[in-house]
Amino acid sequence: MNETTKMGSIEHPIALTQEEKNKIRSYRMDNAAVLFSFVCNKRITCLFRLSATLTDPINVNLLQKALDRIIERFPYYRVNQRPGLFWFYWETNLGIPKVIADSKYTSQEMPMRKKGIFPFRIRAFQNRIAVEFYHGLTDGTGGLTFLKALVAEYLTLKGIQTDDWGDILQYSQKPLDEEYEDAFKRYYQPMYPKHKLLEVAFRLPHKLEPLGIFHMTTGISDVKEVLARSKELNVTLTEYLSAVYIDALQEIYYELPEKMQKKLAKPIRMMIPVNLRRIFPSKTMRNFSLFITPGIDPRLGFFSFEEILETVYHYMRVEVNDRHISQQIRRNVRGELHPLMRITPLFIKRIGGRFVYSRMGEKLYSGTITNLGRVTMPEAFSNEIENIQFLPAPTPSNKASCAVASFKDKLYINFGRVIKDSIVERKFFRKLKKQGISVKIETN
């Protein structure tokens, strides 16, 4: 690490009083966090990662200083997961989160149930700052807001000055009450009918790597090239990449021995998280995303790429709207608010929670693709940043998953996998290449 970077001279006014800072508060977990708190373990770490690579090496002391400041702007992240009699809950953590060294394998288990553990990690390696967030704490949007604020604070301390802070949350601002809210409960419609339960999906039959190994493959493309291709096909970038992913999984399915094909003949379905803040206005910094699951059924025969694309396109048009999403919210929140559920002791809920997560979550899809969209920073900061990337959490059920983000003119497609064979990425990127999109590959 380079320790020679000049310290910045700008000092922000303190937004919170000392008393406010040291006040121990406890927060009820949001609806999504409840489930994550039951299932996270050594394999399902529930940790997604966001990273920003700067043009200069990171000064760790300065980054620590930036973190010490910025964490006060995010009091809802300065917490520790504690067990109650009936639920886990968040409690203010008066400790100081420390910047730690980066690891070859990202997003590895965090001992969430230990006292004093922060539900996120800040890591530094060469020019890169990375945050690994426990999904129970927030979703990709919340994580990105934090990373942007941290990077901006770090660059400010380094002496970069700007008047244009855009949407970046600043150390000098007081947190809004709305940032703490569980937006799922705000938009809960108890009278809506149940959301239908899907059939279990096809999942890769490959053997898992030993615990702790998490391969990461990054495909870097020109965002304009991918957008042009998507536009040509009249679909969005997410729809296009999802269709390529499904096509890759279909190819893997048909390459399996016939006996195995018969055994695994189930729908090939993607899990695509949707940022609900775009549908239901909310400034929450906690979880507020749900997923939709477009897919094909190989039992109906082979699907051409155009057919897959059409299926995904129409599925997204039907499903991504307030009514259908509300049905999902209704199902999840109702489960949490049910009187029987409320009085069940935590240790029983934890056993049941794993089953619910498996049957109503991870077993329903064959792969995950999550698109954070275009990440922007004010120009003064943007000039100091090479790239911002989004990396998925390890998923032992899907074996491989994908997270996408674009910054400046590049699209970063990150595949994380817990199997040895890079079959999914290989098929996926070869298909992109065949469609005329150039890809550069990096791995860990």
Partner: protein, 246 residues
């Protein structure tokens, strides 16, 4: 920029194999002169340091510690319950000596696993001591121990040691081990019959044990025959197949 000729994807300078298909990347002399790209991730994982593997001795000592602590809890409970209610150690002496016996039976194999003589003598003394105490605590007199318990323990020990020695000595192990155990079980029953009848009826006679002795010896004999008759030839399965071919 170098690229994989099979996948068509570009890779960093200095990468030797395609990260997707492992095909060697063609290296060009002009590219070799360029600075190789920086590492994207550290070489070592930070989390999950290699788990320290315990040696067999450490495993045994740990097991012994856990067993000792687990036995200590009921031992203290029965002792204090008796002390509080009866203000003396009355009925609690029986569970107490039983728990101590269990602890001793676990201790000898865990602490002296490579010293069979100490193990056997330790277990024998523990059993004898336990039975003497049970006999003594019942009516503050030692009566049935000499006539029943001591000869039975001697017989059980003798037969166990004999089976272990014979089993370790034989060259080929298989069904013959099962036969030795059966023979020992038959003899044990015969011995029990003799000891019990001589104590109760004061005469040496064989009664019910014949019904155990005969089948165990027949089955044991059959197993011995199978073992030594067929394992002399290497392919036992082929022989059986040939005998029963249709």
């Amino acid at each position: 920029m170098p690229y994989c000729s099979k996948c068509g994807v570009e890779v960093d300078i200095g990468i030797e194999k395609c990260p997707l298909c492992s095909l060697p990347i063609q290296q060009f002399p002009d590219e070799e002169q360029k600075q190789p790209s920086k590492k994207k991730y550290p070489d070592e994982p930070v989390e999950h340091p290699a788990k320290r593997i315990l040696t067999p001795k450490e495993k045994r000592i740990r097991a012994w510690e856990i067993i000792s602590a687990s036995i200590m809890i009921p031992l203290l409970i029965v002792t204090f319950t008796d002390l509080i209610i009866a203000e003396t150690i009355s009925w609690a002496r029986f569970p107490m000596i039983a728990l101590i016996l269990v602890w001793l039976l676990c201790t000898f194999p865990l602490v002296f696993p490579t010293r069979p003589v100490i193990m056997i003598i330790g277990i024998a003394i523990s059993l004898i001591g336990f039975l003497v105490l049970v006999d003594y605590f019942a009516d503050w007199d030692i009566d049935w121990f000499y006539k029943l318990a001591l000869p039975i323990i001697a017989l059980v020990l003798f037969l166990s040691v004999a089976v272990v020695i014979v089993s370790t000595k034989v060259k080929k192990k298989g069904m013959n081990i099962a036969a030795f155990i059966l023979f020992a079980a038959g003899i044990l029953n015969l011995g029990l019959d003799l000891i019990i009848m001589s104590t109760i009826q004061h005469k040496v006679t064989v009664t019910w044990s014949l019904f155990v002795l005969v089948p165990t010896f027949i089955i044991g004999g059959f197993l011995m025959y199978m073992h030594y008759r067929f394992t002399k030839d290497t392919d036992f399965k082929t022989k059986i197949k040939a005998k029963f071919q249709m």
